[in-house]
């Protein structure tokens, strides 16, 4: 089906995404700072933001690079962090199925945690396909542009701000802001605990494998706990 671009919905998407920038700008800056600190040239640092366009993957890549991890381990770790995008892709797919390929390829490129969170509610509320797609594109385009500007600011700041300010600590802080609100149920807290303990215990593993192994162990623990609780619930209803 041919979909028409709707400028009002596009700008509505831009407007609704604006409050999110408070969290995006420092994160993007840190990605710029981190890439430079890991030895990337300014052009490569910006290319990282333009092409990977994922704060989590960029941070993982630059931190592991700085820690001297082998290429394959870095790629594998980035792959595991990027798995959550599969979840967003699957959740949005039913609403985007009727779009033509060009639109789907374009919207996929700007699918991020923030764009997902911002558009899912609207998709559920309205079935105007053209307006929804344009709204998504507006949200995603704003995030992409601001992400690049923030990265450039970080590349510049990284060369001016002294290391004693410890700006690199903004990285864990950004992730804490994402993580803590997710810890609202017992299984999430279990997954958190397993990941935290495993990553510390496994720290001595060679090739900086501790992050990926700790994460995978915690995911396994979460799946197991889900299975056990749903089995217990089934037994109760019987």
């Amino acid at each position: 089906m041919r979909t028409h671009f709707s400028p009002p919905a596009f700008f509505e998407g831009v407007r609704d995404m604006a409050p999110m920038l408070l969290g995006i700008v420092p994160f993007g800056m840190v990605c710029g700072v981190g890439a430079i600190a890991a030895g990337a040239s300014p052009v490569a640092a910006l290319a990282m933001s333009m092409i990977m366009f994922s704060g989590a993957a960029q941070i993982v890549a630059t931190q592991l690079l700085a820690a001297g991890a082998p290429f394959a381990v870095i790629v594998l770790s980035c792959l595991v962090v990027s798995l959550r995008l599969l979840m967003y892709s699957a959740a949005l797919a039913p609403y985007l199925r009727a779009l033509d390929n060009r639109w789907r390829n374009l919207l996929s490129f700007v699918l991020t945690d923030q764009a997902f969170a911002g558009t899912l509610q609207r998709f559920r509320a309205s079935d105007d396909l053209a307006a929804n797609a344009s709204y998504f594109l507006g949200s995603g385009a704003l995030l992409w542009v601001v992400w690049q500007l923030a990265t450039v600011a970080g590349i510049l700041a990284g060369q001016i701000i002294p290391a004693s300010w410890q700006l690199d600590f903004v990285v864990p802080l950004c992730f804490i802001a994402v993580l803590v609100p997710l810890l609202r149920d017992r299984i999430s807290i279990l997954v958190f605990a397993v990941a935290a303990i495993a990553v510390v215990v496994l720290d001595a593993m060679p090739l900086r494998l501790s992050m990926i192994c700790g994460g995978l162990l915690a995911i396994g623990a979460g799946v197991l706990a889900d299975e056990m609780t749903s089995r217990a619930a089934r037994r109760k209803t019987r």
Partner: protein, 122 residues
């Protein structure tokens, strides 16, 4: 392999991964549903991986040396930031996310700088 070449190869390899993951169910397997076990596992990816990224950055100082004590300024700053994220993250859905991040970063950096000043570190 030079550092710069490695970085460019990484950019394209990881870029291909992130784009493929984004495209996956929207375009590549648009006609298929996600296997239930995969869906269950993916649900836990954010908490598991973000924890595995954050915890080492906070409890090891310098790298490889475990420091879970009040003299680890990063640990205390992270706990303060976590408290802010908990309190501010419960406020509401989507649009609160940006505010939560800004407040968490501000408090975390503020506490870190204050503690380092009090401990007489530069």
């Amino acid at each position: 392999m030079s550092r710069e070449l490695t970085i460019w190869l990484l950019i394209f390899a990881v870029g291909a991964i992130t784009y493929t993951a984004r495209l996956s169910f929207i375009a590549l397997f648009a006609r298929r549903d996600m296997p239930p076990l995969l869906a269950e596992a993916l649900k836990h990816v954010p908490v598991a991986m973000v924890t595995a990224i954050v915890v080492p950055a906070v409890v090891f100082m310098p790298p490889g040396v475990l420091r879970i004590d009040p003299a680890n300024a990063k640990l205390i700053a992270a706990l303060a930031a976590g408290a802010v994220a908990w309190w501010s993250g419960s406020a509401g859905p989507t649009m609160a996310v940006g505010r939560t991040a800004a407040a968490t970063i501000a408090v975390g950096m503020g506490v870190l700088w204050l503690l380092r000043y009090l401990m007489g570190q530069p």
